[in-house]
Assembly symmetry: C2
Homo-oligomer: 213 residues x 2
Amino acid sequence: MTMQAMQTARVVPMKKSDRTREEILRSAARLFRDRGYHASTLREIAQEAQIKAGSIYYHFGSKDEIIDEVLDLGLREVFNAVHAVMEADRDNPDHRARIGRAIREHLNLLVAHGEFTSANIRIYGQLPEDVRARHRPLRRQYAQLWEDLLSEARDAGAVRSDIEIVPLRQFLLGALNWTVEVFRPDRGSLDIHADRCMALVLDGISTGARNRL
Amino acid sequence: MTMQAMQTARVVPMKKSDRTREEILRSAARLFRDRGYHASTLREIAQEAQIKAGSIYYHFGSKDEIIDEVLDLGLREVFNAVHAVMEADRDNPDHRARIGRAIREHLNLLVAHGEFTSANIRIYGQLPEDVRARHRPLRRQYAQLWEDLLSEARDAGAVRSDIEIVPLRQFLLGALNWTVEVFRPDRGSLDIHADRCMALVLDGISTGARNRL
DNA sequence: CCTACCGATCGGTAGG
DNA sequence: CCTACCGATCGGTAGG
Protein backbone atom coordinates (compact mmCIF):
# COMPACT_ATOMS: atom_id res chain seq x y z
CA MET A 1 0.00 0.00 0.00
CA THR A 2 1.46 3.36 -1.02
CA MET A 3 1.71 6.35 1.31
CA GLN A 4 -0.93 8.05 -0.80
CA ALA A 5 -3.31 5.15 -0.34
CA MET A 6 -2.74 5.06 3.41
CA GLN A 7 -3.50 8.75 3.75
CA THR A 8 -6.62 8.39 1.66
CA ALA A 9 -7.65 5.43 3.74
CA ARG A 10 -7.52 7.54 6.86
CA VAL A 11 -9.77 10.25 5.40
CA VAL A 12 -12.26 8.06 3.52
CA PRO A 13 -12.63 4.73 5.33
CA MET A 14 -12.29 1.75 3.03
CA LYS A 15 -14.92 -0.60 4.38
CA LYS A 16 -18.44 0.22 3.25
CA SER A 17 -19.92 -0.56 6.68
CA ASP A 18 -17.58 2.02 8.23
CA ARG A 19 -18.75 4.64 5.77
CA THR A 20 -22.39 3.84 6.56
CA ARG A 21 -21.63 4.06 10.24
CA GLU A 22 -20.10 7.50 9.76
CA GLU A 23 -23.05 8.57 7.67
CA ILE A 24 -25.41 7.56 10.47
CA LEU A 25 -23.42 9.61 12.97
CA ARG A 26 -23.28 12.64 10.68
CA SER A 27 -27.01 12.47 9.93
CA ALA A 28 -27.78 12.07 13.62
CA ALA A 29 -25.61 15.06 14.55
CA ARG A 30 -27.33 17.25 11.97
CA LEU A 31 -30.79 16.24 13.13
CA PHE A 32 -29.94 16.55 16.84
CA ARG A 33 -28.55 20.02 16.17
CA ASP A 34 -31.55 21.19 14.15
CA ARG A 35 -34.45 19.61 16.05
CA GLY A 36 -33.15 18.42 19.39
CA TYR A 37 -32.55 14.92 20.69
CA HIS A 38 -36.07 13.61 21.28
CA ALA A 39 -37.52 15.10 18.10
CA SER A 40 -34.96 13.29 15.98
CA THR A 41 -36.23 9.78 15.30
CA LEU A 42 -34.16 6.80 14.30
CA ARG A 43 -36.34 6.58 11.20
CA GLU A 44 -35.31 10.09 10.10
CA ILE A 45 -31.67 9.41 10.90
CA ALA A 46 -31.82 6.21 8.85
CA GLN A 47 -33.50 7.97 5.92
CA GLU A 48 -30.82 10.69 5.87
CA ALA A 49 -28.14 8.00 5.96
CA GLN A 50 -29.94 6.20 3.09
CA ILE A 51 -30.64 2.98 4.92
CA LYS A 52 -33.74 1.45 6.52
CA ALA A 53 -34.65 2.17 10.13
CA GLY A 54 -34.02 -1.33 11.46
CA SER A 55 -30.53 -1.37 9.93
CA ILE A 56 -29.31 1.22 12.40
CA TYR A 57 -29.13 -1.59 14.96
CA TYR A 58 -26.51 -3.34 12.85
CA HIS A 59 -24.19 -0.42 13.73
CA PHE A 60 -25.47 0.79 17.11
CA GLY A 61 -27.13 -0.91 20.03
CA SER A 62 -29.47 1.94 20.88
CA LYS A 63 -30.25 5.61 20.34
CA ASP A 64 -28.24 6.36 23.48
CA GLU A 65 -25.15 4.80 21.90
CA ILE A 66 -25.52 7.20 18.96
CA ILE A 67 -25.86 10.31 21.09
CA ASP A 68 -22.91 9.20 23.22
CA GLU A 69 -20.68 9.00 20.17
CA VAL A 70 -21.98 12.24 18.65
CA LEU A 71 -21.24 14.10 21.88
CA ASP A 72 -17.82 12.52 22.15
CA LEU A 73 -16.83 13.25 18.54
CA GLY A 74 -17.98 16.85 18.96
CA LEU A 75 -15.69 17.57 21.88
CA ARG A 76 -12.74 15.17 21.69
CA GLU A 77 -11.24 16.63 18.53
CA VAL A 78 -11.62 20.14 19.91
CA PHE A 79 -9.95 19.00 23.11
CA ASN A 80 -7.02 17.36 21.32
CA ALA A 81 -6.37 20.28 18.98
CA VAL A 82 -6.60 23.00 21.65
CA HIS A 83 -4.51 20.89 24.02
CA ALA A 84 -1.79 20.57 21.36
CA VAL A 85 -1.74 24.33 20.75
CA MET A 86 -1.50 25.04 24.46
CA GLU A 87 1.35 22.56 24.86
CA ALA A 88 3.29 24.13 21.99
CA ASP A 89 2.81 27.54 23.62
CA ARG A 90 3.69 26.39 27.12
CA ASP A 91 6.79 28.58 27.61
CA ASN A 92 5.51 31.68 25.85
CA PRO A 93 5.66 34.58 28.33
CA ASP A 94 3.00 36.55 26.37
CA HIS A 95 -0.14 35.28 28.06
CA ARG A 96 -2.47 37.35 25.93
CA ALA A 97 -1.01 35.75 22.80
CA ARG A 98 -1.34 32.29 24.35
CA ILE A 99 -5.00 32.87 25.13
CA GLY A 100 -5.51 34.30 21.67
CA ARG A 101 -4.03 31.25 19.98
CA ALA A 102 -6.18 28.95 22.09
CA ILE A 103 -9.28 30.95 21.18
CA ARG A 104 -8.36 30.78 17.51
CA GLU A 105 -7.85 27.03 17.63
CA HIS A 106 -11.10 26.52 19.52
CA LEU A 107 -13.02 28.50 16.90
CA ASN A 108 -11.19 26.69 14.12
CA LEU A 109 -12.34 23.31 15.35
CA LEU A 110 -15.91 24.48 15.96
CA VAL A 111 -16.13 25.48 12.32
CA ALA A 112 -14.29 22.41 11.01
CA HIS A 113 -16.50 19.86 12.77
CA GLY A 114 -19.71 21.82 12.39
CA GLU A 115 -22.42 19.20 12.88
CA PHE A 116 -20.85 17.51 15.85
CA THR A 117 -19.73 20.53 17.84
CA SER A 118 -22.96 22.41 17.16
CA ALA A 119 -25.02 19.43 18.20
CA ASN A 120 -22.97 19.15 21.37
CA ILE A 121 -23.37 22.83 22.23
CA ARG A 122 -27.06 23.06 21.45
CA ILE A 123 -28.56 19.92 22.94
CA TYR A 124 -26.38 19.13 25.95
CA GLY A 125 -28.62 21.08 28.32
CA GLN A 126 -31.69 19.10 27.26
CA LEU A 127 -30.34 15.57 27.43
CA PRO A 128 -31.42 12.96 29.98
CA GLU A 129 -29.25 13.06 33.07
CA ASP A 130 -27.67 9.62 32.47
CA VAL A 131 -26.45 10.71 29.02
CA ARG A 132 -25.02 13.93 30.45
CA ALA A 133 -23.34 11.99 33.24
CA ARG A 134 -21.46 9.78 30.79
CA HIS A 135 -20.25 12.80 28.82
CA ARG A 136 -19.34 14.93 31.85
CA PRO A 137 -15.76 13.72 32.47
CA LEU A 138 -14.64 14.89 29.00
CA ARG A 139 -16.38 18.24 29.52
CA ARG A 140 -14.63 18.68 32.85
CA GLN A 141 -11.28 17.81 31.27
CA TYR A 142 -11.72 20.45 28.59
CA ALA A 143 -12.84 23.07 31.11
CA GLN A 144 -9.75 22.30 33.18
CA LEU A 145 -7.53 23.00 30.17
CA TRP A 146 -8.90 26.54 29.96
CA GLU A 147 -8.92 27.13 33.68
CA ASP A 148 -5.23 26.24 33.87
CA LEU A 149 -4.43 28.60 30.98
CA LEU A 150 -6.40 31.46 32.53
CA SER A 151 -4.98 30.84 36.01
CA GLU A 152 -1.45 31.09 34.71
CA ALA A 153 -2.32 34.32 32.89
CA ARG A 154 -3.80 35.74 36.06
CA ASP A 155 -0.84 34.70 38.20
CA ALA A 156 1.43 36.43 35.68
CA GLY A 157 -0.59 39.63 35.92
CA ALA A 158 -2.09 39.46 32.43
CA VAL A 159 -5.68 39.17 33.69
CA ARG A 160 -7.21 41.20 36.53
CA SER A 161 -6.49 39.41 39.79
CA ASP A 162 -9.99 39.97 41.20
CA ILE A 163 -11.63 37.90 38.46
CA GLU A 164 -12.58 34.37 39.46
CA ILE A 165 -11.36 31.73 37.03
CA VAL A 166 -14.38 29.44 36.83
CA PRO A 167 -16.97 32.09 35.88
CA LEU A 168 -14.43 33.63 33.54
CA ARG A 169 -13.96 30.31 31.77
CA GLN A 170 -17.75 29.84 31.60
CA PHE A 171 -18.24 33.28 30.11
CA LEU A 172 -15.35 33.01 27.67
CA LEU A 173 -16.23 29.59 26.24
CA GLY A 174 -19.93 30.46 26.29
CA ALA A 175 -19.35 33.64 24.32
CA LEU A 176 -17.13 31.86 21.80
CA ASN A 177 -19.63 29.06 21.27
CA TRP A 178 -22.50 31.50 21.02
CA THR A 179 -20.86 33.62 18.35
CA VAL A 180 -20.10 30.59 16.19
CA GLU A 181 -23.73 29.49 16.47
CA VAL A 182 -24.94 32.96 15.48
CA PHE A 183 -22.46 33.99 12.82
CA ARG A 184 -21.48 30.64 11.29
CA PRO A 185 -18.34 32.18 9.81
CA ASP A 186 -16.65 30.53 6.87
CA ARG A 187 -12.98 29.59 6.99
CA GLY A 188 -11.94 32.82 5.31
CA SER A 189 -13.47 35.13 7.91
CA LEU A 190 -12.31 33.04 10.83
CA ASP A 191 -9.28 35.16 11.69
CA ILE A 192 -11.36 38.31 11.73
CA HIS A 193 -13.91 36.52 13.87
CA ALA A 194 -11.26 35.35 16.32
CA ASP A 195 -9.79 38.85 16.61
CA ARG A 196 -13.24 40.27 17.24
CA CYS A 197 -13.84 37.78 20.02
CA MET A 198 -10.42 38.52 21.47
CA ALA A 199 -11.11 42.23 21.48
CA LEU A 200 -14.63 41.97 22.86
CA VAL A 201 -13.84 39.47 25.56
CA LEU A 202 -10.20 39.92 26.51
CA ASP A 203 -10.10 43.70 26.46
CA GLY A 204 -13.05 43.65 28.81
CA ILE A 205 -11.35 41.19 31.11
CA SER A 206 -7.99 42.89 31.28
CA THR A 207 -8.80 46.59 31.25
CA GLY A 208 -12.52 47.39 31.18
CA ALA A 209 -14.29 45.30 33.80
CA ARG A 210 -15.16 47.25 36.91
CA ASN A 211 -16.78 44.42 38.85
CA ARG A 212 -15.81 40.98 40.02
CA LEU A 213 -16.73 38.11 37.83
CA MET B 1 -64.62 46.42 44.93
CA THR B 2 -61.86 48.34 46.65
CA MET B 3 -58.72 49.55 44.93
CA GLN B 4 -56.80 47.03 46.98
CA ALA B 5 -59.01 44.21 45.77
CA MET B 6 -58.69 45.31 42.16
CA GLN B 7 -54.92 45.36 42.37
CA THR B 8 -54.88 41.97 43.99
CA ALA B 9 -57.22 40.70 41.32
CA ARG B 10 -54.76 41.72 38.65
CA VAL B 11 -51.88 39.87 40.26
CA VAL B 12 -53.70 36.70 41.35
CA PRO B 13 -56.53 35.93 38.91
CA MET B 14 -59.83 35.34 40.67
CA LYS B 15 -61.35 32.58 38.58
CA LYS B 16 -59.99 29.14 39.33
CA SER B 17 -59.91 28.16 35.66
CA ASP B 18 -57.64 31.13 34.95
CA ARG B 19 -55.27 30.00 37.65
CA THR B 20 -55.19 26.47 36.21
CA ARG B 21 -54.55 27.90 32.77
CA GLU B 22 -51.60 29.88 34.12
CA GLU B 23 -50.30 26.81 35.91
CA ILE B 24 -50.38 24.86 32.66
CA LEU B 25 -48.39 27.58 30.91
CA ARG B 26 -45.85 27.81 33.70
CA SER B 27 -45.40 24.02 33.86
CA ALA B 28 -45.06 23.88 30.09
CA ALA B 29 -42.46 26.65 30.07
CA ARG B 30 -40.39 24.88 32.72
CA LEU B 31 -40.52 21.55 30.88
CA PHE B 32 -39.81 23.10 27.48
CA ARG B 33 -36.83 24.90 28.96
CA ASP B 34 -35.42 21.83 30.70
CA ARG B 35 -36.08 19.10 28.14
CA GLY B 36 -36.97 20.77 24.85
CA TYR B 37 -40.29 20.99 23.04
CA HIS B 38 -40.77 17.46 21.70
CA ALA B 39 -39.51 15.74 24.83
CA SER B 40 -42.11 17.56 26.95
CA THR B 41 -45.36 15.60 26.77
CA LEU B 42 -48.83 16.93 27.50
CA ARG B 43 -49.09 14.22 30.13
CA GLU B 44 -46.07 15.60 32.00
CA ILE B 45 -47.31 19.17 31.65
CA ALA B 46 -50.69 18.13 33.03
CA GLN B 47 -49.12 16.28 35.94
CA GLU B 48 -47.01 19.31 36.90
CA ALA B 49 -50.12 21.47 36.71
CA GLN B 50 -51.95 18.93 38.90
CA ILE B 51 -54.66 18.03 36.41
CA LYS B 52 -55.27 15.05 34.12
CA ALA B 53 -53.84 14.93 30.61
CA GLY B 54 -57.16 15.22 28.78
CA SER B 55 -58.10 18.32 30.76
CA ILE B 56 -55.45 20.37 29.01
CA TYR B 57 -57.82 20.54 26.03
CA TYR B 58 -60.35 22.41 28.15
CA HIS B 59 -57.85 25.31 28.17
CA PHE B 60 -55.89 24.88 24.94
CA GLY B 61 -56.75 23.50 21.52
CA SER B 62 -53.39 21.85 20.89
CA LYS B 63 -49.78 21.61 21.98
CA ASP B 64 -48.97 24.25 19.37
CA GLU B 65 -51.31 26.71 21.09
CA ILE B 66 -49.39 26.23 24.32
CA ILE B 67 -45.97 26.78 22.79
CA ASP B 68 -47.31 29.87 20.95
CA GLU B 69 -48.41 31.44 24.21
CA VAL B 70 -45.25 30.43 26.10
CA LEU B 71 -43.10 32.04 23.42
CA ASP B 72 -45.24 35.15 23.38
CA LEU B 73 -45.30 35.57 27.17
CA GLY B 74 -41.53 35.13 27.26
CA LEU B 75 -40.82 38.01 24.91
CA ARG B 76 -43.74 40.44 25.07
CA GLU B 77 -43.14 41.57 28.64
CA VAL B 78 -39.45 42.03 27.92
CA PHE B 79 -40.38 44.05 24.85
CA ASN B 80 -42.82 46.29 26.72
CA ALA B 81 -40.50 46.98 29.64
CA VAL B 82 -37.41 47.70 27.55
CA HIS B 83 -39.48 49.81 25.16
CA ALA B 84 -40.74 51.91 28.09
CA VAL B 85 -37.23 52.48 29.41
CA MET B 86 -35.98 53.50 25.98
CA GLU B 87 -38.87 55.94 25.55
CA ALA B 88 -38.20 57.55 28.93
CA ASP B 89 -34.56 57.95 27.92
CA ARG B 90 -35.26 59.23 24.44
CA ASP B 91 -33.66 62.70 24.83
CA ASN B 92 -30.69 61.64 26.95
CA PRO B 93 -27.52 62.72 25.13
CA ASP B 94 -25.41 60.13 27.00
CA HIS B 95 -25.77 57.18 24.67
CA ARG B 96 -23.64 54.87 26.75
CA ALA B 97 -25.97 55.44 29.71
CA ARG B 98 -29.01 54.83 27.50
CA ILE B 99 -27.61 51.51 26.30
CA GLY B 100 -26.65 50.66 29.87
CA ARG B 101 -30.18 51.24 31.14
CA ALA B 102 -31.65 49.18 28.32
CA ILE B 103 -29.24 46.34 29.11
CA ARG B 104 -30.16 46.51 32.79
CA GLU B 105 -33.88 46.39 32.04
CA HIS B 106 -33.43 43.52 29.61
CA LEU B 107 -31.55 41.52 32.23
CA ASN B 108 -34.10 42.49 34.87
CA LEU B 109 -36.94 41.02 32.84
CA LEU B 110 -35.02 37.88 31.93
CA VAL B 111 -34.58 37.16 35.61
CA ALA B 112 -38.11 38.19 36.59
CA HIS B 113 -39.86 35.93 34.06
CA GLY B 114 -37.40 33.09 34.29
CA GLU B 115 -39.33 30.11 32.93
CA PHE B 116 -40.79 31.90 29.95
CA THR B 117 -37.78 33.85 28.75
CA SER B 118 -35.43 30.92 29.30
CA ALA B 119 -37.77 28.59 27.42
CA ASN B 120 -37.93 31.12 24.59
CA ILE B 121 -34.15 31.50 24.39
CA ARG B 122 -33.34 27.83 24.63
CA ILE B 123 -35.85 26.11 22.39
CA TYR B 124 -36.59 28.64 19.63
CA GLY B 125 -33.89 27.23 17.36
CA GLN B 126 -35.37 23.72 17.55
CA LEU B 127 -39.04 24.50 16.94
CA PRO B 128 -40.96 23.48 13.80
CA GLU B 129 -40.79 26.16 11.14
CA ASP B 130 -44.51 27.03 11.34
CA VAL B 131 -44.24 27.76 15.08
CA ARG B 132 -41.17 29.93 14.51
CA ALA B 133 -42.93 31.75 11.68
CA ARG B 134 -45.83 32.78 13.93
CA HIS B 135 -43.44 34.08 16.59
CA ARG B 136 -41.08 35.86 14.19
CA PRO B 137 -42.85 39.25 13.91
CA LEU B 138 -42.49 39.90 17.64
CA ARG B 139 -38.83 38.85 17.52
CA ARG B 140 -38.20 41.24 14.63
CA GLN B 141 -39.95 44.06 16.51
CA TYR B 142 -37.73 43.58 19.54
CA ALA B 143 -34.60 43.38 17.42
CA GLN B 144 -35.62 46.64 15.74
CA LEU B 145 -35.86 48.36 19.14
CA TRP B 146 -32.21 47.58 19.81
CA GLU B 147 -31.02 48.33 16.31
CA ASP B 148 -32.58 51.81 16.52
CA LEU B 149 -30.92 52.45 19.89
CA LEU B 150 -27.53 51.28 18.64
CA SER B 151 -27.85 53.19 15.36
CA GLU B 152 -28.48 56.44 17.21
CA ALA B 153 -25.50 55.78 19.46
CA ARG B 154 -23.31 55.16 16.45
CA ASP B 155 -24.55 58.25 14.60
CA ALA B 156 -23.75 60.29 17.72
CA GLY B 157 -20.22 58.89 17.79
CA ALA B 158 -20.65 56.79 20.93
CA VAL B 159 -20.00 53.50 19.12
CA ARG B 160 -17.29 52.85 16.53
CA SER B 161 -18.65 53.85 13.13
CA ASP B 162 -17.19 50.81 11.36
CA ILE B 163 -19.30 48.38 13.36
CA GLU B 164 -22.35 47.03 11.57
CA ILE B 165 -25.54 47.32 13.59
CA VAL B 166 -27.20 43.98 12.87
CA PRO B 167 -24.26 41.77 13.90
CA LEU B 168 -23.67 44.07 16.86
CA ARG B 169 -27.25 43.62 18.02
CA GLN B 170 -27.00 39.84 17.53
CA PHE B 171 -23.81 39.67 19.54
CA LEU B 172 -25.03 41.98 22.31
CA LEU B 173 -28.39 40.29 22.90
CA GLY B 174 -26.81 36.87 22.45
CA ALA B 175 -24.16 37.61 25.06
CA LEU B 176 -26.72 38.99 27.51
CA ASN B 177 -29.03 36.01 27.10
CA TRP B 178 -26.14 33.60 27.37
CA THR B 179 -24.82 35.05 30.61
CA VAL B 180 -28.25 34.87 32.23
CA GLU B 181 -28.57 31.22 31.20
CA VAL B 182 -25.14 30.43 32.64
CA PHE B 183 -25.08 32.52 35.79
CA ARG B 184 -28.76 32.62 36.81
CA PRO B 185 -28.12 35.65 39.01
CA ASP B 186 -30.53 36.46 41.82
CA ARG B 187 -32.13 39.87 42.05
CA GLY B 188 -29.50 41.09 44.48
CA SER B 189 -26.55 40.51 42.17
CA LEU B 190 -28.31 41.84 39.09
CA ASP B 191 -26.71 45.28 39.13
CA ILE B 192 -23.25 43.79 39.41
CA HIS B 193 -24.14 41.41 36.62
CA ALA B 194 -25.38 44.23 34.40
CA ASP B 195 -22.25 46.30 35.03
CA ARG B 196 -20.10 43.31 34.18
CA CYS B 197 -21.95 42.82 30.89
CA MET B 198 -21.65 46.53 30.15
CA ALA B 199 -17.93 46.46 30.74
CA LEU B 200 -17.28 43.27 28.84
CA VAL B 201 -19.42 44.11 25.86
CA LEU B 202 -19.55 47.89 25.57
CA ASP B 203 -15.91 48.60 26.36
CA GLY B 204 -15.01 46.18 23.62
CA ILE B 205 -17.35 47.85 21.18
CA SER B 206 -16.31 51.40 21.84
CA THR B 207 -12.58 51.18 22.43
CA GLY B 208 -11.12 47.69 22.09
CA ALA B 209 -12.39 46.15 18.88
CA ARG B 210 -9.84 46.16 16.07
CA ASN B 211 -11.98 44.52 13.43
CA ARG B 212 -15.31 45.15 11.78
CA LEU B 213 -18.28 43.38 13.21
C1' DC C 1 -62.35 19.13 34.43
C1' DC C 2 -62.21 13.58 34.21
C1' DT C 3 -62.51 8.74 32.14
C1' DA C 4 -61.80 5.97 28.50
C1' DC C 5 -60.25 5.50 24.31
C1' DC C 6 -58.40 6.29 19.16
C1' DG C 7 -54.85 6.10 15.29
C1' DA C 8 -50.17 7.13 14.62
C1' DT C 9 -45.57 6.68 15.62
C1' DC C 10 -41.86 5.75 18.53
C1' DG C 11 -37.47 2.71 19.99
C1' DG C 12 -36.31 -1.72 19.55
C1' DT C 13 -36.30 -6.97 18.01
C1' DA C 14 -36.65 -11.56 15.34
C1' DG C 15 -35.38 -13.86 11.54
C1' DG C 16 -33.42 -13.88 7.51
C1' DC D 1 -28.43 -4.62 5.86
C1' DC D 2 -33.85 -5.48 5.10
C1' DT D 3 -38.80 -6.98 6.22
C1' DA D 4 -42.15 -7.43 9.36
C1' DC D 5 -43.51 -6.77 13.58
C1' DC D 6 -43.86 -5.78 19.02
C1' DG D 7 -45.32 -3.08 23.27
C1' DA D 8 -45.32 1.54 24.83
C1' DT D 9 -46.47 6.09 24.47
C1' DC D 10 -47.69 10.04 22.03
C1' DG D 11 -51.25 14.08 20.73
C1' DG D 12 -55.81 14.36 20.52
C1' DT D 13 -61.15 13.23 21.03
C1' DA D 14 -65.96 11.67 22.73
C1' DG D 15 -69.00 11.83 26.17
C1' DG D 16 -70.05 13.02 30.34
